[in-house]
Point group: C2
Chain length 350, copies 2
């Protein structure tokens, strides 16, 4: 059977602060760049149609699966899993499991999405713990970091699996040929860190043929772009990400405050408006939207809850890239190559 020329995405049309508008706008932007996309929109037909009718090109490639039930940001993951069986989110994830769609995108409740995706799609063969992965701007371009919060405690074999998945994500989504990989740690010296990162480093160091492992990286080096893939447990990863975001927001507000402090500084602010805009564009999270729960038996992309159409379109783009690159198969092959690499290396050392 020839592969289908179309990529079908299941969209949770009711998930996210700006849904369904952001979803419709995002999908409409996405088909302009990629005419091979087909959408299944899960949600309330009565609420979706008025928006959809404004985008005839999108309407032509979309199908609505009607449901009135949806998951709110306040729903606990366990409750969403038990009681949300007819929710737009759950039905969208189901569509990937039963093969109707190639991937699912949701901007809804993160915890609920994670619980549902794990339950429905299960972990893929060879991966014990799916992880949250995303890319971020750095001084040199972008980097990939995982896990960002799916697993609050991880052992060394989880970290090694994250390294494999991060390597594939960097290649497929960011087009980096031979991504450098580093383990997040409290120091760069070999003896630093807890037993989990120590053991993971010892394993990764032996995988010389399959992974471009560089050693440890400290928290302040991530933004400098010193590694293409930063591997860490979900607790530290989440904290590193949020601490950076918090500082970026704080400094932006201090800068605004500085500019608004007098009419002279306001004039100064006007004169640096253009380069400041370029700086802002570079840091723009919209262009980096689309975190992914990687390592599942299907492709599930998480958009920011506050995403607008542009940001949502980027989440769709990430989903599309994952599908067209055959993410799961690539991870499987890399895991296999890694086990051969480690075995051979062990033999040599005997």
């Amino acid at each position: 059977m020839a592969p289908s020329p179309f990529i079908t995405l299941a969209l949770d049309a009711m998930g996210g602060d700006n849904a369904p508008l952001s979803v419709i706008e995002g999908a409409s932007l996405a088909i302009k760049h990629n005419p091979s996309l087909r959408f299944i929109l899960f949600g309330d037909q009565g609420r979706l149609m008025p928006f959809l009718e404004n985008y005839p090109a999108l309407q032509a490639v979309s199908q609505i699966v009607h449901t009135q039930d949806y998951i709110t940001n306040e729903d606990k993951p366990s409750v969403a899993l038990r009681q949300g069986r007819q929710s737009s989110m759950r039905l969208a994830v189901n569509a990937v499991a039963d093969g109707t769609a190639d991937a699912v995108v949701s901007a809804g409740n993160t915890g609920a999405y994670m619980a549902i995706a794990k339950f429905v799609l299960k972990a893929m063969t060879g991966i014990s713990r799916p992880a949250f992965v995303a890319s971020f701007p750095t001084a040199k371009g972008s980097c990939v970091m995982l896990d960002l919060g799916a697993n609050v405690s991880c052992d060394s074999s989880n970290l090694v699996e994250f390294a494999v998945m991060g390597d594939i994500y960097a290649r497929d989504v960011m087009g980096i040929a031979n991504p450098t990989i580093a383990l997040l740690n409290v120091g760069a010296e070999e003896m630093k860190g807890n037993v989990e990162v120590q053991t993971a480093a010892a394993i990764l160091k032996r995988a010389t043929r399959t992974l471009n492992f560089q050693g440890f990286i400290e928290g302040d080096r991530i933004i400098k772009g010193e590694a293409d893939v930063v591997v860490t447990d979900g607790f530290s990863g989440n904290i590193a990400l949020k601490a950076s975001e918090g500082m970026a927001t704080f400094m932006t507000s201090l800068l605004k405050e500085s500019i608004h402090s007098s009419w002279i500084s306001k004039l100064g602010g006007l004169l640096i408006l253009k380069p400041l805009q370029r700086m802002k564009d570079r840091m723009n999270p919209k262009l980096h939207n689309g975190a992914m729960l990687i390592g599942l038996g299907g492709i599930a992309i998480k958009s920011h809850g506050g995403a607008d159409g542009v940001a949502y379109a980027n989440a769709i783009k990430v989903a599309t890239q994952m599908v067209s690159h055959g993410l799961q198969k690539q991870i499987e092959e890399k895991l296999h190559a890694l086990s051969l690499d480690l075995a051979e290396n062990a033999e040599k050392n005997e």
Copy 2:
């Protein structure tokens, strides 16, 4: 016996990138504000004297203990501990242990200092793991965070001890009457996080009389100043701190780049120079220099390695505050009050 009207500090005069100049300048600045200070300078007399002679007021209250041996930034902690018995750092720490000095300050090799201080001063009664603590600027003023890297893995009772020590540090160094305390976590909801933070939260929640515990805090909320004391394990704390520092440095360099991109933006930069300077002053790490290894049987302050005289003077100020407030005794009393509080609360629940 009446308490001595003087506070005697042991200074590792050879530790730090700018030693001994930064040490001498810092001590000289410190006595201008606090004439009750007395110093014992540990280091090479031949190298110290030319600097010291420029500060006669300092010379009058200082004594040099000569040693030619000192610990470099490249020395491994274990080696420094074994082979550095005559080093300026070790002798300075010894002076606290034998009662010659009230506290020790060093800007030298952090790992070596930690190893030596732990070995010589031991943990104080009731504390199983000393922690690195420091204060940072936030949107509302300052906050205290610990552990910043002394312990890469911590259990719930370590975290509870950190909360007690952080409370005392916030009161003594920052003058906050009833500091709010929060546990760093990946979410604010009760069910979030690993077993260590979950258990610690359950204990702290019961300590209603002794600690002003507010629950969990996420990484992006630290800089907003939503808690006076942020409690975490040394792995996450170190990563949160460095990730924030990295982002601050990155954004500052982007801003500079923006301003230098054209002559128009350079003019704009000139017009906002003053408020930008105020912004920079507010974030100035010099004014927050002086991390401390808290929970030892003596007071040991760590200055940044790159500290200049102003920053070093602030580390001396932190040492002075700790001594004059009787830090150790206060922690002991708080630990005692906590155990009574928890016992009483347990009885009530029976």
